[in-house]
C-alpha cells in the first residue's frame, strides 16, 4: 500500500493511522508495530526537518509479509543524506554532557532489521524492514 503525505510534522497522525491499519490487516504483532512506527516517524520527521521548503509530498509504502513489515519512503528534489551512516552517538555520556537531539536515526539503526539508502537524480529512497520475532 502506497500513499503520499504532506511535508509536515502534523502528518504524523495520518501516517500512524495509515500504517496501523495496514499492519492490523496484515496480522502484525505489537513487537513489530512499535519499532516500525518509531522508524517511520524518525525518518519522516528527518525529511521534514532538513527540507522544510520543499513543496513535494513524501511517499510512503508499506508491505506486510510473514509477520514482518517492509517500508519505503521516497523524497524528491532533495540533497543527499545517508541515513545508514554511523551517527556517532555516545549513549554512555553522562547527563551534563548530553544535549537534546541526535538520537532519532541512532534508534532507527538499532531497532530495525535492515536499513538501505539510495540517492540518484536528487531523489532519496529509504527502505527498512522489521521481521517478526
Amino acid at each position: 500500500m502506497q500513499k503520499t503525505f504532506p511535508r509536515s510534522i502534523d502528518a504524523l497522525g495520518d501516517i500512524y493511522a495509515f500504517s496501523e491499519q495496514i499492519m492490523a490487516d496484515g496480522g502484525i504483532g505489537d513487537v513489530v508495530r512499535f519499532p516500525v512506527h518509531l522508524a517511520m516517524e524518525e525518518l519522516f520527521t528527518n525529511m521534514v526537518k532538513y527540507c522544510p521548503d520543499n513543496a513535494n509530498d513524501i511517499q510512503l509504502e508499506i508491505d506486510t509479509r510473514d509477520g514482518g513489515v517492509a517500508v519505503t519512503l521516497v523524497d524528491v528534489d532533495v540533497d543527499e543524506f545517508d541515513v545508514t551512516a554511523e551517527r556517532g552517538v555516545d549513549t554512555s555520556m553522562p547527563l551534563d554532557g548530553r544535549v537534546p537531539g541526535g538520537l532519532g536515526l541512532h534508534l532507527v539503526q538499532q531497532m530495525v532489521d535492515s536499513l538501505e539508502y539510495e540517492y540518484h537524480d536528487r531523489q532519496s529512497t529509504v527502505r527498512f524492514t522489521k521481521e517478526s520475532g
Partner: protein, 96 residues
Amino acid sequence: MFTIEFGDNGEILCSGRLDAAQCARAEEFLASVDGSSTLDFARLEYISSAGLGILLKTQKRLVENGAGLRIINVNNHIHDVFRYSGFHSIFEIEAG
C-alpha cells in the same frame, strides 16, 4: 492522542503517544515542573526521539537545581527505547 496531567498523588500521568507532533504539549507542561517529580508512564504507549529530547531537557534543568525525574510503569517497548538511548544511567526508571 497524548495527554499529560497531574494525578491525585502528585505524579505526572502521561498517556497515549508522545511523538514529534505532540511534544510541544509535553514540553510546555514539564517546563512548569520545578522539583523532583515522578512521571507515570502506565498509559503511555509510545515515545520517539522528540519525546526523549523533552525528557532530557527537563532532567538537565531539574538536576542543576538538585532535583530530578523518576519514571515509573514503563512498558517493554519504551524500555527498549530508553535502553538504546542510554537513559538508564541518567534517569531513575522502573518497568511496569
